[in-house]
């Protein structure tokens, strides 16, 4: 593996322009000050209760995601280029979903294989021919982007279901401004705090036509035991809307109401952070106690907007991902502005053969996996792990894709031994309303805190950083 691109320091030791002010500051600040502020940040996070739950880890029911106090910085130029690519990509995702659930031109044209849709567990036949308000499916998208050199950003993954992490983007900035006001004086950092205003505008813009001029928006959460519960309550709070659980809602004559102290109140837009499967026990899992019986019939009647729409998962698994460049070309007639990581689809015989022959070089991922679970990192795996994946691949090749081990860019990070480079990725959030697309400059930077590690997922010991987009003065 080649030496990774470092976002602050060039190979010759010079500092990249975006980091000039930060590098100067870092070289002046005593390490114990950094350490002190890191502890202060942790204390604040814990007191505010910004925690997440790790499934299967009953011992630490609520954990803090480690926060790194050194920001990750992008220039305005880099950001503008990236955000154009993000907008293009999400536009294509929406057109693809509309097509998949109506005329299926893309399947007829043979661009995407049929079974990728019909055999996909996230495909919702209930959505066939179903009109959704404003033809929008993915109102809130989180697109994971990695960087490999000064020019190249790759999209690593599209998250079109219920992407999380935006609360960390906002809280990280908040805490950085509290701890390091002097840094913000030296750098012109584009603000992100208007994200929730943009989100509210987006949600209101996609209300059903039958809604009043000031639509009632709610955030639907599975409840306090969900790993992202903190974020759900954070967002509801900042949006100024009710945070509801399934039991707070009911459906009468195809209209959704919430139970309030003053009686039932109509709900127009549900920003749901609950998976499709649990939304409505009458349509999906009958054992779901988290959902709202009859919700789908209200949805089908066009009386409520669900964001994101039902069935978006058919557009964001890792097998569909590999077709995204073709999907963009098909609907928009444009070349993708953001590249895909080269991907081998194990479903195709020649790809599978290549993958099996190069297991020790590749990253193999489950098509429907997430959170860094169920993947093989070839160069780091031992013999037994490789053989285990070889067997899995042979048994069910369609369930896997493989990618080269990317040299993800690194960013200076404050760890035990001082400031050291650690691999990072970036999840910007793309909001699509009926009026326009909104992207706040920045996103959530995740960092693999272990030296050399490429796994940035919080469930596996990853941390986060504040992400700065510098405005040129």
């Amino acid at each position: 593996m080649s030496v990774a691109f470092d976002e602050m320091t060039n190979a010759d030791g010079s500092i990249r322009s975006a980091y000039t002010a930060l590098a100067r500051w870092l070289s002046n600040v005593p390490p114990d000050v950094l350490d002190f502020r890191r502890k202060e940040a942790e204390f604040i996070f814990r007191r505010i209760g910004i925690t997440f739950a790790v499934y299967g880890d009953s011992d630490a029911q609520e954990r803090l995601i480690p926060f790194d106090i050194i920001p990750r910085i992008l220039t305005g130029t880099e950001w503008r280029r990236m955000s154009r690519g993000l907008e293009q990509r999400v536009k294509a995702l929406n057109l693809y979903l509309k097509d998949i659930y109506s005329r299926r031109e893309i399947l007829k044209a043979g661009v995407v294989p049929e079974d990728l849709v019909y055999q996909n567990p996230a495909f919702r036949p209930e959505m066939n021919g179903q009109k959704v308000p404003h033809d929008l499916y993915v109102h809130i998208a989180g697109i994971d982007v990695v960087r490999v050199d000064s020019e190249t950003f790759y999209v690593l993954e599209d998250n079109a279901r219920t992407p999380s992490g935006v609360s960390y983007m906002l809280e990280n900035r908040e805490i950085m401004m509290r701890l390091f006001p002097e840094l913000f004086a030296d750098n012109r950092v584009a603000p992100v705090e208007n994200y929730t205003d943009e989100l509210l505008a987006t949600l209101k813009s996609v209300a059903p036509l039958s809604a009043s001029s000031d639509p009632v928006v709610v955030v639907l959460t599975p409840g306090i035991y969900n790993s992202a519960y903190y974020e759900h309550s954070f967002l509801a709070d900042k949006l100024g809307v009710e945070l509801v659980e399934g039991r707070d809602l009911f459906v009468r004559s195809d209209v959704v109401y919430m139970r309030t102290t003053e009686g039932p109140r109509r709900v127009d837009v549900i920003y749901r952070r609950l998976d499709d499967d649990f939304l409505d026990p009458l349509t999906f899992r009958p054992d779901s106690a988290l959902g709202v019986p009859g919700l789908m019939s209200a949805y089908n009647a066009g009386n409520v907007t669900l964001t994101n729409a039902v069935g978006t998962g058919v557009a964001d698994d890792k097998a569909v991902y590999s077709y995204m460049p073709d999907i963009i070309r098909f609907y928009l007639g444009e070349e993708p502005l953001l590249k895909n990581v080269p991907t081998w689809r194990c479903r195709e015989a020649d790809h599978l053969k290549y993958v099996l022959d190069h297991l020790n070089e590749l990253v193999v991922k489950e098509v429907h996996g997430s959170g860094g679970y169920g993947m093989l990192i070839g160069p780091r795996a031992d013999k037994a792990q490789i053989e285990l994946f070889r067997a899995k691949l042979k048994q069910d090749p369609t369930n896997f894709i493989a990618q080269p081990t990317l040299a993800l860019s690194t960013c200076p990070t404050f760890v035990e031994e001082g400031i050291a480079p650690r691999h990072v990725d970036l999840r910007p959030f793309v909001l699509t309303g009926s009026d326009r697309v909104r992207i706040v400059p920045g996103g959530l930077t995740r960092v693999a805190l272990e030296a050399g590690s490429l796994v940035v997922n919080s469930s596996q010991g990853g941390g986060t950083k504040d992400t700065w987009v510098l405005e040129e003065s």
Partner: protein, 314 residues
């Protein structure tokens, strides 16, 4: 607001108040138990603490008949199997707080969350009296902070009113129960009513609700049972008295009714209890029996709680 949110706020305040009351019960019991034997110090104070806290039956199921300082303190303060132990009160309060974070101010949340984190530091086994005292004052301070945070930072809307109603319903219940401790601590036969033991017991009760000084200011007399009862039941100046609690309950329920434009059975019930208290005289209460009076008050107060639930929280 969401019915569930109102319900959570209501119970959140009740549990914070209940934790405070339990701390006070433990406080007063310890004082009573420490009375020297020469003053007739009896041995059933710890049992009476259980009766006052309303969990004697549950305790019996878990521990049997044997009551002593250690097992009662542990049961009321920490036992996971006691749904109303102080620890469980804080646990439930925090769970409720997490589900209504959007309805809480940051100050309220931080109070609950840091208390919950702090709670872990107190080990339950072999707590010395000094450690226990520290723990109890931590609990009382937490309730004070929570109450102050709510009072100083919440918007004056239905969220605030529901949490206040919860607090005062619980407080009324608790005051009544603390007053009832005296009934459960049976005076030894040889002891005269109004004797030294009796005096110390009533004074301890006052102390436990931080009312000993108030008592002297109000009555300018030595501690007498009917005056203590008057202070804690009828005196509207005393913020823990049943009358004061019901003045507040009535007021906040009326705020809710005005806001929603509709009165209901909860408002009527609260007003009728307040009227009853207003028409009561201490002589009559002692004539019919203090314990009986308290019993029927606790019953009425519970009825108000379920009426509020039916009217707003379902």
């Amino acid at each position: 607001m969401l019915s569930r949110t109102a319900d959570n706020l209501y119970w959140l305040s009740r549990y914070m108040e209940r934790a405070d009351c339990l701390a006070r019960i433990l406080d007063v019991t310890q004082r009573l138990a420490q009375l020297p034997a020469a003053y007739g110090g009896s041995t059933n104070e710890w049992r009476s603490a259980l009766l006052t806290a309303g969990c004697a039956d549950l305790f019996k199921q878990v521990h049997g008949e044997e009551t002593n300082e250690q097992n009662v303190v542990n049961f009321l303060a920490f036992a996971p199997e006691n749904p109303s132990s102080i620890r469980n009160c804080f646990e439930i309060a925090r769970t409720n707080a997490r589900s209504v974070r959007t309805a809480l101010t940051m100050e309220m949340w931080e109070t609950i969350n840091s208390a919950w984190l702090e709670l872990k530091r107190y080990s339950t086994k072999d707590m010395t009296r000094e450690e226990l005292a520290r723990f109890l004052s931590f609990v009382k301070e937490t309730s004070l902070r929570f109450d102050g945070a709510a009072y100083r930072t919440m918007l004056r809307n239905d969220a605030f009113w529901f949490s206040r109603v919860g607090m005062y319903v619980e407080r009324a219940d608790n005051t009544a129960r603390i007053l009832d401790v005296k009934y459960h601590v049976l005076l030894p036969d040889s002891e005269h009513i109004g004797g030294p033991l009796d005096y110390f017991q009533w004074a301890s009760i006052l102390r436990s609700v931080s009312a000993l000084t108030s008592f002297h200011w109000v009555y300018r007399e030595s501690v007498k049972p009917w005056l203590v009862a008057d202070l804690l039941i009828l005196n509207a100046q005393m913020p823990r008295s049943l009358t004061s609690c019901y003045q507040n309950i009535t007021r906040y329920l009326d705020d809710i009714a005005a806001y929603y434009g509709r009165q209901g059975s909860a408002q009527r019930l609260a007003r009728s209890t307040l009227t009853k208290l207003g028409n009561s005289r201490m002589e009559d209460i002692f004539q019919t029996g203090l314990h009986e009076f308290i019993d029927s008050f606790v019953f009425e107060n519970n009825r108000l709680g379920s009426t509020v639930t039916e009217q707003y929280l379902l």
